[in-house]
Structure formats: structure tokens, C-alpha cells
């Protein structure tokens, strides 16, 4: 039988029973679309997070106060004995050969008042270096001034969202804000990078680190970012940093060093696993579609018993009858899968259109996997009914009997 003939023969069958066909197409399409949609969203989330965290650059080391024990040793004494990470530590680190810049970070929540409005906002204390590391630019005015780290100044840079919520459309440069019990003058507004995960600056008020320490009445830093002069220096610098801190903290190595890569690696692994899991769940719906296909093929076989007998009387071989029924299921699946791919992409692009920040991309493995799984499921589930049809003795089939009775 020629392929175009087979195609036409099957098409006649499928259009002849359009309701049955529609239901199967729907089941397959939903299964394929679900796989694409869920993995597409998972992959989107992964890229989104990676993009966000990548802003820091991979030549940056992150120092956290306190040690996270990962390799045996004494049990960590939570909090106790942990010394603050201080601005003096930051300055000592800056003098370490191979270090380009150091940016301190103090973060706290406080009442911010301006223009007669009150908001509970994140206040970030840092230096100009952080803006450079994160490639943050000012949309208006300037970033923090270049100051010695321990100099407090009554100035601030505000995020785009803060500007909107406190000042609406009014001019802001030179206006005064009250953060907690002190006042500061707005000297700049950050450019709006839209929604962002991680350390979100658009809803923060950024002040010099020393001002923030006074505001929150602390000596300790929340984080220290160390940018090295060259990527290759990251690994050799780790022990030097630990040694330096140890010598400054009375022999305690009470910090944790994280690289951008290791952080991303963890995220990447988790998110990839999530995408995989979500894709697998969606794949179950494809198996359900497969069971539907099996039922339909079974029904098709029993409804068409005398037709099978006829085909055999006309000289069709077992192989031909088998192929006829398999190809019917396969064709239905292919059409369904195509519809599913189209629907899945349409929905993803629709989502992207509504929320442009969210990257849309279906991993190739998910696309191929979904289509191949649909085909595989159809073949596996149609195989038995098709074989049953093929093995029917012609004389019994002509009489419309599906079970051989000897």
C-alpha cells in the first residue's frame, strides 16, 4: 500500500468519526501542550533567576558573616563567637593583592517618610562600588558619592518604585527623606530594570554604608562583595581572604565564602530538577492520552471486524492490517501533537506578551520528548489492538466475530 493511499484511507476513517477523533486529538494535544507549557515555564523561571543573579558578574566573591560547617569538625555554635564583619575588615581586604574593589552591604527595614507619605522600606547601606559591580545606573541625578567607607553623609539614591510611591510624578532631586530618625537628601534615582528577584533595588533606599550603620546601630555588615582583578584569581584568593579574616578575628575563620558560580550552580540544579519534575508530571497526561488511544483502537478493531475480514479476503496480509491500524493511531497522534505544540507555544508567547520580563523558552529536550513520547505512547498502546486485528482469522472476521472459537 502506498503511503499517500494509506494516508487517505486513514483520513477517511478519522473524519468519518469526527467526535471520537476530536476527543483523541484533544487528549493528545492537551498532553503535549502541558509538557511544553510547564517545562517552558520552568525553563523561563530558571533563566530569569540566572539572569538576575548573573548581574553581579562571576569575578565577585560574596562573604557572609558566620561559618557554615560542611565538612565535619566541631558543631557550629550558632551566633555565639561569631564576630561581626566590619568596615575595617573591608578595608583590610581591599589592600589584599589581587582584589580590585570591595563593596559592603548593610540591609534593614525602616520607616521612610517623604512628601507627607510614610512607607516601610528596605534601606540598603553600601558604597558606589556595588553599583559598579551590579552595573546599576542612575536614571536621574547621580549614584552615591565616592567617600571613605566610614564617612556618613545625609544623601540617598532611591529605586524607581520608591520614587513612584513617595513622589509620584513630582521632581525628586534635592528633596529630603526621613529614614528612621535621620534625614537624607535625594541625589539620584536608579534606572528601572523592572521586576527583579534577589536583591531588589527598585524598592530600596540606598545610603552610604556608614550612615546605614548609624541608622541601624550596628558595626556588623550583612555582606561583603569582593571583586577580584582577574577571574583566575578567585580560587587563589579564597584562602588568602580566609587567612586574613582569621588573623583579624582572633584566630576564628568565622565567615563563609560564596562564589557567584557556586550560588548559580545550586539554583541551576534545583530549577532544572524542578523543570524536569514538572515536565514529568505533564507527561503523565500523555500516558492518559495513550490509554484513550488504546481504547479507541480497540473499539475501532471491534467495530471494523468485518472490514478486516474483507480486507483479508481481498488479499491484505497480517502485516498490512497491522500497519493500517497502527498508522491510524499514529496519524491521530501526530495531528494531536502538532496541535499541542502550536497551542503550547501560543500560550507561552501569550504569557510572554503579558509579562515581557519573563523569558520564554521550551528546552529542546522537552519539545522532542513530548512529541516522541506521544508517538511512543500511541504506538505502544495501539500495538496490541492492532495485532489483535491482524491475527483475526478471515472467515471469522467476515462474520463479525472477534474471538476465535475452535
Amino acid at each position: 500500500m502506498r503511503t499517500p493511499d494509506l494516508f487517505r484511507f486513514n483520513l477517511r476513517l478519522l473524519t468519518g468519526q469526527w467526535f471520537r477523533t476530536l476527543m483523541t486529538l484533544l487528549a493528545t494535544a492537551v498532553g503535549v501542550a502541558a509538557v511544553l507549557l510547564l517545562t517552558g515555564m520552568g525553563e523561563g523561571a530558571r533563566r530569569f533567576v540566572l539572569d538576575e543573579f548573573n548581574l553581579l558578574g562571576n569575578d565577585v566573591l560574596i562573604i557572609l558573616p558566620g561559618r557554615k560547617e560542611t565538612t565535619g569538625g566541631l558543631p557550629p555554635l550558632t551566633g555565639e563567637g561569631t564576630r561581626d564583619l566590619t568596615l575595617d575588615d573591608a578595608e583590610a581586604l581591599l589592600r589584599l593583592p589581587g582584589v580590585r574593589t570591595v563593596a559592603p552591604l548593610v540591609v534593614g527595614l525602616t520607616e521612610v517618610e517623604a512628601n507627607g507619605r510614610n512607607r516601610e522600606l528596605v534601606v540598603v547601606g553600601t558604597s558606589i562600588e556595588l553599583f559598579r559591580m551590579r552595573q546599576l545606573n542612575a536614571a536621574q541625578g547621580q549614584l552615591l558619592p565616592v567617600l571613605p567607607l566610614e564617612r556618613a553623609e545625609p544623601v540617598c539614591v532611591i529605586g524607581a518604585e520608591v520614587r513612584r510611591s513617595l513622589f509620584a510624578q513630582q521632581p525628586v532631586l534635592g528633596r529630603w527623606l526621613r529614614t528612621g530618625d535621620r534625614r537624607c537628601r535625594v541625589i539620584g534615582v536608579l534606572e528601572d530594570r523592572g521586576v527583579s528577584l534577589g536583591t531588589d533595588m527598585s524598592e530600596a533606599v540606598i545610603i552610604p554604608v556608614a550612615s546605614a550603620q548609624q541608622l541601624f546601630n550596628t558595626q556588623g555588615l550583612f555582606r561583603l562583595f569582593v571583586q577580584v582583578q582577574h577571574l583566575d584569581l578567585i580560587e587563589p584568593l579564597k584562602p588568602s581572604i580566609l587567612d586574613l579574616i582569621q588573623s583579624r578575628h582572633q584566630g576564628e575563620r568565622d565567615i563563609t565564602l560564596i562564589t557567584q558560580d557556586s550560588l548559580l550552580g545550586v539554583f541551576d540544579d534545583v530549577l532544572q530538577l524542578l523543570t524536569l519534575a514538572v515536565g514529568a508530571i505533564a507527561a503523565i497526561s500523555l500516558v492518559v492520552a495513550g490509554i484513550l488511544i488504546m481504547n479507541i483502537t480497540l473499539i475501532s478493531v471491534s467495530q471494523r471486524t468485518s472490514e478486516i475480514g474483507l480486507l483479508k479476503a481481498l488479499g491484505a496480509s497480517e502485516r498490512q492490517v497491522h500497519r493500517l491500524f497502527l498508522s491510524e493511531a499514529l496519524m491521530m497522534t501526530l495531528i494531536g501533537a502538532t496541535l499541542g505544540v502550536l497551542t503550547g507555544y501560543a500560550l507561552l508567547w501569550g504569557g510572554h506578551w503579558l509579562w515581557p520580563q519573563f523569558p520564554v523558552s521550551v528546552p529542546l529536550w522537552a519539545l522532542l520528548g513530548a512529541v516522541l513520547l506521544a508517538i511512543g505512547v500511541a504506538l505502544v498502546f495501539a500495538w496490541l489492538p492492532a495485532r489483535k486485528a491482524a491475527r483475526l482469522p478471515p472467515v471469522l472476521a467476515l462474520k463479525g466475530m472477534t474471538d476465535a472459537q475452535h
Binding site: M1, R2, D5, F9, R12, L13, G16, S306, E307, G309, L310, L311, K312, A313, L314, G315, A316, S317, E318, R319, Q320, P393, P394, V395, L398, Q405, H406
Partner: protein, 227 residues
């Protein structure tokens, strides 16, 4: 052309065995016109199905054109059916979703003939059977006589040597039945071997050779002297 030797077939009806064919010996020459008559349940259809390789005997041997087809496997039998045998059934067995033309060309589709070649052969047959106006009609738009003509066209489209008809007029009124019989006889006149099962003695008498069956046995084999 056909030689049956001690052919037996036993069916189990409930827990009672039925001897549908009981040691049948038969020889049929090429171009013969046979009718098979006998009471209902005497084994006529079973015999025809055996001849048409649709059924397998329990014992005995069957030669078709010097090939011992009783020794062949199912796939080889399918090939022989396709090459040598045409079937006409009482119930037409047309595929309802296919047009008259598509039903007729089905054997050619199954063997993978090219569409152009198929079209030419189907057109020729349609014309000859007076069905050209009905080529694109579905079976349910045709009368019984027309349906049986379509079925006959389908049976002979591959020019088989043997045409088997199981009560081809059983579902037809006498007028269209007459037409169908005449068509079959015309085909026989062109050389095809025709074996026709019928329970109508008037129809059966038209054949040059007449078989009677009872309880699975051939009880009478009558041949016109001037054949």
C-alpha cells in the same frame, strides 16, 4: 485448476462437533461454471471459504494451480488470495465510508498500484457494469443490485482466475438478481472460473456443472453433457 483431496473441517457448536466438510474430493478445471446447492448448514459456505483460502482445513489437501496451498502459511495464503481469487458475498461487504470507485479500487490500493493505472482500470469496469454515473456515490446511495455490481467489480479488478460467489443474489429481488447472475456468467464467458453457492434451484440450474451437498458431504455432481 483446483484439486481437493479428502478435505475435512469440523466446527465446535457449543459442545457438539459439526462436520462442516466431510472428506470432500473435488476437481475443478479452468473456466468451469459450477453451482453449489444444498440445504442450509450443509457446508456450502465452508467449502467456498476453503476454496478461497479464507479458512483452513483440519485435514486433507488442496492444490490451486499446482501449488499445494493447504501447506502454506497465512501470509502466503493472503498473497495467493490477492493474486488468484475474487470474492462476492451475499452481504456485499462494501466499506460504507468509501465511494463506489474507492471500493472497487481497494484491491489495487492494497497491492500498491499507481493511481493512474487504478483509475484507468476502474473507469473501464464502471463503464462496463453501467455504474459510471455512480462512481462517486457511497454504498448507502446505491440499490442492492448496484451494490452487488460494485462488489463484483471489486472482485474482478485484479483479474483473478477464480471467482467465488456465496449466494450473490440472496439479498436481491429476482430482477436485480437476474442481472447479477448474467454479469457473473458474462465474466465466466471470458474465461474466469466461477463457483457460485445458491439455494435457488432455478439459479443453480443455469450452471454447466452442479454440486449438491448435505451434512458436509458432496452427494451429487452433475455435468451438462454438451459442456
Amino acid at each position: 485448476m483446483i484439486r481437493l483431496q479428502q478435505l475435512c473441517k469440523c466446527y465446535q457448536l457449543g459442545d457438539e462437533p459439526v462436520q462442516a466438510l466431510d472428506h470432500v474430493d473435488l476437481e475443478i478445471g479452468a473456466g468451469e461454471y459450477l453451482s453449489v446447492m444444498g440445504p442450509s448448514g450443509s457446508g456450502k459456505s465452508t467449502l467456498l471459504n476453503m476454496l478461497g483460502l479464507l479458512d483452513t482445513p483440519d485435514s486433507g489437501r488442496y492444490w490451486l494451480d499446482d501449488i499445494e496451498v493447504s501447506a502454506l502459511g497465512e501470509e502466503a495464503r493472503a498473497a495467493e488470495r490477492s493474486r488468484r481469487i475474487g470474492f462476492v458475498f451475499q452481504a456485499y461487504h462494501l466499506i460504507e465510508r468509501l465511494s463506489a470507485r474507492e471500493n472497487i479500487e481497494l484491491p489495487l490500493v492494497l497491492t500498491g498500484n499507481a493511481p493512474d493505472e487504478r483509475r484507468a482500470r476502474v473507469d473501464e469496469l464502471l463503464q462496463r457494469l453501467g455504474l459510471d454515473r455512480h462512481a462517486d456515490h457511497l454504498p448507502n446511495q446505491l440499490s442492492g443490485g448496484q451494490r452487488q455490481r460494485v462488489a463484483i467489480a471489486r472482485a474482478v479488478i485484479r483479474k483473478p482466475a477464480l471467482l467465488l460467489a456465496d449466494e450473490p443474489t440472496g439479498n436481491l429481488d429476482s430482477h436485480s438478481g437476474q442481472g447479477v447472475i448474467e454479469l457473473l456468467e458474462e465474466l465466466n464467458g471470458e474465461g474466469i472460473t466461477l463457483v457460485m453457492v445458491t439455494h435457488d434451484p432455478a439459479m443453480g440450474k443455469r450452471a454447466r456443472r452442479r454440486l449438491w451437498m448435505q451434512d458436509g458431504k458432496l452427494i451429487k455432481d452433475e455435468q451438462d453433457a454438451h459442456a
